[in-house]
Symmetry: C2
């Protein structure tokens, strides 16, 4: 038995790819346009870990998606938590839970999917601007 993916629905595919691929650093592995069903599926995964994927479902006919409380977050381990957060912030993403401890951060996708980022190995030494940055919103 094997984990394949977590699927999330997205309202704007380009905006979502900018977040998951360009800013967060996942790689697009495959894409499937379904004309009859009027949807596009895009599968992404962390570089070097292609088997555990996230599936973005983009329905061509716009729906407004709500994020219930039952689903919590997707979690990824990263090599340099500060570098990932800096890149996300430079791209306009709010760092909801800054990595004050050098260990953990939370951000949200354009559709409010909560993403947990964990530093690989030992925590990084506390560093600005993160050490004194307050929380923003919920995650």
């Amino acid at each position: 038995m094997k984990y394949l993916h977590t699927m999330v629905r997205v309202t704007d595919l380009e905006q979502s790819l900018h977040f998951y691929r360009d800013l967060l650093g996942l790689q697009e592995l495959r894409r499937k346009d379904n004309e009859r069903g009027r949807f596009t599926l895009v599968f992404l995964a962390a570089p070097g870990n292609p088997e555990a994927q996230v599936e973005l479902t983009y329905n061509w006919d716009l729906e407004a998606y709500t994020m219930g409380r039952a689903f919590g977050h997707l979690a990824y381990e990263v090599d340099d938590l500060y570098a990932v957060c800096a890149k996300l912030q430079a791209g306009g993403v709010t760092i909801n839970r800054p990595p004050r401890d050098g260990h953990m951060a939370f951000v949200r996708s354009p559709d409010d999917v909560s993403i947990e980022l964990l530093q690989k190995g030992a925590s990084l030494p506390p560093a600005e601007p993160w050490a004194s940055m307050p929380n923003t919103g919920a995650w």
Copy 2:
């Protein structure tokens, strides 16, 4: 960069472990009780694929969780789709999307998390009771 887990909140930990562990077949890897935060975390994964986990968050003070539309499902590949569905059904789980095609099925957790089950390799030959079983609800 590496995928770690998908977190979902559960309202009844024992009921959820019965579903994810006893019926679906995931293995419990670790558990953490946090008395101060009044929550329990349980990490599970498919046997033989321990690195891609699902994290069940059980808050001791009961909340009612809603399942929005933004989160879609968790997907697992299984060795024998019919055997997994039969076990789930015998355990009282509705097979929302029966594996009529020998390839794909959907069920829901006690908290309405949609779970996609995909047959490993080639589809199984069509077989009853699945081949003629209608869909139930949504997934």
